[in-house]
């Protein structure tokens, strides 16, 4: 059984937001919608202060609360663990956005563009009306995974089958792969390092792990 997960190695992340920008561009998300983003968190008191950069987004939970509250079954889950949204079924009620402990879902009610009311050339070419008035979120670039696999590529190893945020990550903090494959990089990293998952107490069993060797954040 395959379960795709993502790892963010907090020892590596520098908060550069390259993943955020790459995701926005690849998925043509409108201003303010960031399926992938990196939080900038400060803890402690001067002069004993730590600052940590935490990539976040949809955690592709094994038990996703967003799916349970969806009244139309628009939110679903694939066999490989990826949590999906069917825009044709979504009615934009935003229950899922409220239910998500990770603030990973977005909904825009009107078309918005980077430079104002009018779309730029590239925005006009990429505009997808289906994404207005519905919930959207990180898809783990499921179409890349599927297309890559169809071409014989391995997600997490071959760029053609790997989410764009992972491909773009300049520090090597983001890693992707099948946690059930003991030979995958994600399985090896989790076996060899201390890790945690966000809001684990919520019982959602996220598919997003953080490597961190300095205790809790």
């Amino acid at each position: 059984m395959t379960r795709y997960v993502m790892i963010a190695d907090l020892r590596r992340c520098v908060g550069c937001q390259t993943c955020t920008a790459a995701c926005k561009e690849a998925n043509a998300t409108p201003p303010g919608v960031q399926w992938r983003r990196v939080l900038d968190i400060e803890v402690g008191e001067y002069p004993n202060v730590n600052r940590i950069f935490v990539p976040t987004g949809c955690q592709h939970c094994a038990d996703p609360p967003c799916m349970h509250v969806c009244p139309t079954t628009a939110t679903g889950q694939r066999d490989d663990g990826i949590v999906t949204i069917d825009y044709d079924l979504c009615i934009g009620c935003a229950y899922c956005a409220v239910a998500c402990p990770y603030e990973a879902r977005f909904k825009v009610d009107t078309a918005e563009f980077a430079f104002g009311d009018e779309p730029s050339t590239v925005e006009r070419a990429q505009f997808d009306e289906r994404k207005v008035g519905v919930a959207t979120k990180c898809t783990f670039c499921a179409d890349r995974i599927d297309a890559g696999r169809a071409a014989g590529k391995t997600p997490g190893r071959d760029p053609e089958a790997t989410p764009v945020c992972v491909n773009s990550c300049i520090s090597g903090a983001l890693v992707f792969g099948d946690i059930e494959d003991p030979d995958s990089t994600v399985a090896r990293l989790l076996a060899e390092n201390k890790s945690f998952r966000m809001h684990e107490e919520a019982g959602t069993s996220p598919g997003f792990y953080y490597l961190w060797d300095r205790g809790t954040l």
Partner: protein
């Protein structure tokens, strides 16, 4: 793509990003139906690029940059002859032909009257921003500049005050280190004084430091605020601004006075530095009367001998009586020294550092003495004295410790002391230019920019040759050849292609407004080219600088959008931007910052999409200009000489361009590709432009041993010109004499920097005193204001791109004023409040962001964004340090640089200032 879209004709186009000096980095552009839709890594380059073929966040802004509706897409001319911030330029669209004629008629007129004006200054000036990176986008325009003749490059857009200026000059002098890096792949301990590599070090640095953290490196980051680099370090040590030199002097004190001599690399000091040279009573080296060579005391023979005597074993310690010697004094004078006491330079160093205890430094830096002492101990403990490592089959010393310096630490007053201390700390443990240690990564003032080792040749006194501007009575250039007087005032900057731009870049602006006593006010250039530069925003005292700029009678701006600088222009020319035009540049080898590779070669930028509007490829613009000016032969000859890569004609190949013809863009770059790949492979593997466009880059192996100068020094028997600075002392005295002979006394304070060994001179106090000398009360400006970079913006070229703003806002501080939480509370300021930061020359406003990770005496204003014209950026209401930092001769150091900080007050206000402009 992340989400399915309608099927489209899609292609991936390899190209490069060189948005900042830490590049270039390979990338690909996805083009769908002729429209660039996204940027991504060039995974095909992962095996050769230290950053695995991945560009940083800035590259992802290039799509919006291309389709920005605010672009200038047609040539335009000014219709309002009055210039100024409050004047509407009245730009109207014109044809390319009209634009060329307007420029060429001016240029022809200048050529007829002579390229140099009555004041001896070039009539044409040019400024290109962002650390020289515009050269990687301006096609063959450098060949146009070469074909033209003398041009004044001294109008700064930020160099000298925004760069690591002292490192550029002293670093290159001491170890061919225009930029300096730790040998990150091998080092174990980095003591970083504000070197914000996780933000401005580029993708090679980010990846290497991340890898290093995983393997267990320790980085101690010392900086007033908790930057991303501090965040990613093992330890952050807050320090008062401009006191870094005191911390480092105390580290040297610990090494010399508190630890046993076995903690030092005595062999390195003895054989590879000036440490054993005997210093006479007058402070100059004692020399052999016959040969003029510096003397050492030879342990083997028990007598003084010339430093290069075969079999001699120099001593580092002791006091010796010398019967007869000479000293080489300024202006060729010779000092007769008979029966004098002398000690090695190492002894002089030890004595000079005696008073700089950690306890002394603690009071200066606001850092505990125990912390300073511990850092010094950790430095020595990790230095691995005596260990070696095998690199490329050579056995080299392994010294995995490095001290790195950031901006503001590394420019303006105190920077000389910091650079010297950093480099001396490396020499004390033998960690200079060896595996694991402190490396230079490029040269700019010396020739050999693709391999700095070629500039390592023997000079005087056993040191590497370095070419200073002359200071002797006969050859000193009393009359400046450029408006910043770099050859007159700054001997160490030399006089090669980059020297003028690395001179005192703010003096040009200052002196055009008001020149000091006994100094003629420089003439205004008759024509000024400006490209990828916006000094009205990126330089200090922005209002005053804009007013000075408005005096320029004819400005040709290559314009992306309207902005605060081209607001003063007479002609706007739209050049094809990053994704729309073609160029080939060198890549790999050793370049800026942490771009040291195990490969070198060339990389292509190509037109992934058609230019928007009437924007033209820069090479086509340059060719048209030279054709109309009748300079084609000189232009083509410059290209053929190898200006953009390899020589076009050798005994083995000939890819010369016919000099009397105007060639199209691809023909020129095709010849460059062939010539450069021929030179890289000795003619064995020649690639044309079509091949480069398909593959993106071409590389050959680059020896890792060529990262280090040490093997070249050993092979040539050279010594690093450290720790003692006899040459600088002599040069400074000669410069003092020349200036005084010409009645110039306003540079006297700067002359104090020419010291054989640094002495602490209350560096931060200079800023307090500057408040007084400008008529203010220091108590009214109780805080420091400093700045910091954000990766999304780097030097500010992306300020009009919404994507950069959106993702940049995920990090703290962008567009805000960062204040220590307790300081904010004391001042009655809460996060989100509007605050005004006031210096003696002005005020800037932004929202307060209260944090714990900031020194209580310091506020931080990220970026340089006080825009009033640039579309999108002008509506953000960002604050800018540049609005409140004065252009100040008093705060200019001997290299002609200033530090990016100022004394300020902070108060809560109701909201932003109005920023109306016509």
């Amino acid at each position: 793509m992340g989400e399915p879209r309608a099927a489209a004709a899609r292609k991936s186009v390899p190209t490069y990003c060189y948005n900042c000096v830490a590049g270039p980095d390979p990338m690909v552009v996805t083009v769908e139906n002729g429209i660039a839709t996204s940027i991504g890594p060039n995974h095909a380059a992962a095996d050769v690029h230290p950053g695995l073929g991945r560009p940083c966040v800035k590259a992802y802004g290039l799509v919006q940059k291309t389709y920005n509706p605010h672009r200038v897409l047609y040539p335009m001319k000014r219709t309002n002859p009055k210039k100024g911030r409050d004047e509407d330029p009245g730009f109207v669209r014109i044809s390319w032909d009209e634009a060329f004629e307007a420029i060429v008629s001016r240029l022809k007129n200048i050529r007829e009257r002579g390229l140099i004006d009555e004041a001896g200054l070039p009539r044409v000036a040019a400024t290109f921003g962002n650390g020289g990176t515009p050269r990687s986008y301006m096609g063959t325009f450098p060949a146009f500049l070469a074909a033209w003749g003398p041009i004044d490059f001294s109008f700064g857009s930020g160099q000298g005050v925004k760069c690591t200026h002292s490192e550029h000059l002293y670093g290159e002098f001491w170890h061919r280190a225009f930029t300096v890096s730790a040998d990150t792949p091998l080092t174990r301990l980095i003591v970083s004084f504000g070197a914000n590599v996780e933000v401005s070090g580029g993708v090679c640095a980010v990846r290497r430091h991340a890898d290093a953290r995983i393997r267990g490196i320790k980085r101690i980051h010392i900086e007033p605020h908790l930057s991303p680099t501090g965040a990613c370090s093992a330890e952050w040590v807050p320090i008062k601004p401009k006191t870094d030199a005191a911390f480092m002097l105390a580290m040297i004190h610990v090494l010399l006075h508190e630890l046993p001599r076995t903690a030092l690399d005595l062999a390195f000091l003895r054989d590879r530095t000036s440490s054993p040279y005997l210093v006479g009573p007058d402070g100059y080296y004692l020399r052999d009367p016959a040969s003029g060579k510096p003397l050492i005391f030879d342990e083997a023979s028990g007598r003084t001998v010339a430093f290069d005597t075969a079999g001699a074993v120099p001593t580092l310690e002791g006091q010796y009586r010398i019967a007869e010697a000479v000293t080489h004094l300024p202006d060729g004078e010779v000092g007769e020294q008979r029966d004098v006491e002398a000690a090695p330079a190492f002894v002089a160093l030890t004595e000079a550092m005696r008073s700089y205890t950690p306890e002394w430094a603690s009071a200066v830096c606001d850092v505990a003495a125990a912390t300073i002492r511990r850092v010094a101990h950790e430095y020595v403990d990790n230095a691995c004295i005596g260990e070696t490592i095998e690199v490329d089959g050579q056995t080299l010393p392994f010294r995995p410790v490095a001290v790195t310096l950031g901006k503001t630490v590394n420019n303006g007053w105190g920077a000389f002391e910091c650079c010297w201390s950093r480099t001396v700390l490396a020499t004390l443990v033998g960690a200079l230019e060896v595996p694991g240690g402190t490396l230079g990564t490029t040269v700019r003032l010396n020739r050999g920019q693709d391999n700095r080792l070629v500039s390592v040749v023997p000079g005087d006194d056993g040191f590497m040759a370095s070419s200073f501007n002359p200071t002797d009575r006969k050859n000193w250039m009393a009359k400046p050849s450029g408006r910043n007087a770099h050859r007159t005032l700054v001997p160490i900057v030399g006089n090669t292609a980059w020297s003028q731009a690395l001179g005192p870049a703010h003096l040009s602006w200052m002196f055009m407004k008001e020149s000091p006593p006994s100094w003629p006010k420089p003439s205004v250039p008759e024509l000024w080219f400006a490209y990828r530069t916006n000094p009205s925003i990126s330089f200090w005292h922005a209002d005053r600088l804009s007013a000075t700029m408005a005096q320029m009678p004819f400005i040709v701006a290559f314009a992306y959008t309207l902005d605060e600088t081209n607001h003063m222009a007479d002609i706007l020319l739209p050049d094809a931007t990053d994704l729309e035009s073609t160029q080939v540049i060198p890549i790999g080898g050793t370049k800026f910052i942490e771009q040291f590779w195990e490969h070198k070669g060339i990389v292509v930028r190509q037109a992934a999409v058609e230019p928007q509007g009437e924007a033209r490829d820069f090479t086509a613009i340059a060719t048209e200009l030279v054709q109309r000016l009748g300079l084609l032969d000189r232009y083509n000859a410059a290209i053929n000489r190898g200006m953009f890569g390899g020589r076009h004609k050798t005994e083995k190949w000939d890819f010369s361009l016919a000099v009397d013809q105007a060639h199209d863009v691809d023909t020129i770059w095709d010849a460059v590709c062939k010539a450069t790949t021929a030179e890289l492979t000795d003619g064995k593997d020649i690639k044309d432009l079509a091949w480069l466009k398909e593959h993106g880059l071409f590389v050959v192996p680059f020896k890792r041993t060529d990262w280090y100068l040490y093997p070249s020094f050993v092979a040539q028997g050279l010594r690093f010109e450290l720790p003692y600075q006899e040459r600088l002392m002599r040069t400074g005295e000669e410069l003092r004499r020349r200036l005084h002979e010409h009645g110039v006394h306003w540079w006297d304070d700067q002359l104090s920097e020419y010291q054989p060994l640094p002495e602490w001179h209350d560096v931060p106090g200079r800023w307090t005193r500057a408040v007084e000398s400008m008529g203010g009360k220091p108590a009214d400006y109780p805080l420091w204001a400093i700045t910091t970079k954000t990766m999304t913006y780097s030097a500010g070229n992306n300020s009009g791109i919404p994507l950069m703003y959106e993702v940049g806002k995920n990090l703290r501080g962008l567009g805000n004023v960062i204040i220590n939480a307790n300081t904010g509370k004391r001042l009655g300021i809460a996060s989100g409040d509007w605050v005004e930061v006031c210096s003696l020359i002005g005020a800037t406003r932004g929202r307060a962001e209260l944090v714990q990770g900031c020194h209580p005496d310091t506020v931080v204003i990220p970026g340089q964004n006080d825009h009033w014209k640039t579309p999108f950026a002008k509506d953000l209401n960002f604050p800018s340090l540049n609005t409140v930092v004065p252009l100040s001769l008093e705060l200019t150091d001997a290299t002609g640089s200033g530090a990016d900080l100022v004394r300020v007050s902070v108060r809560k206000v109701d909201g932003p200032k109005a920023r109306a402009v016509s």
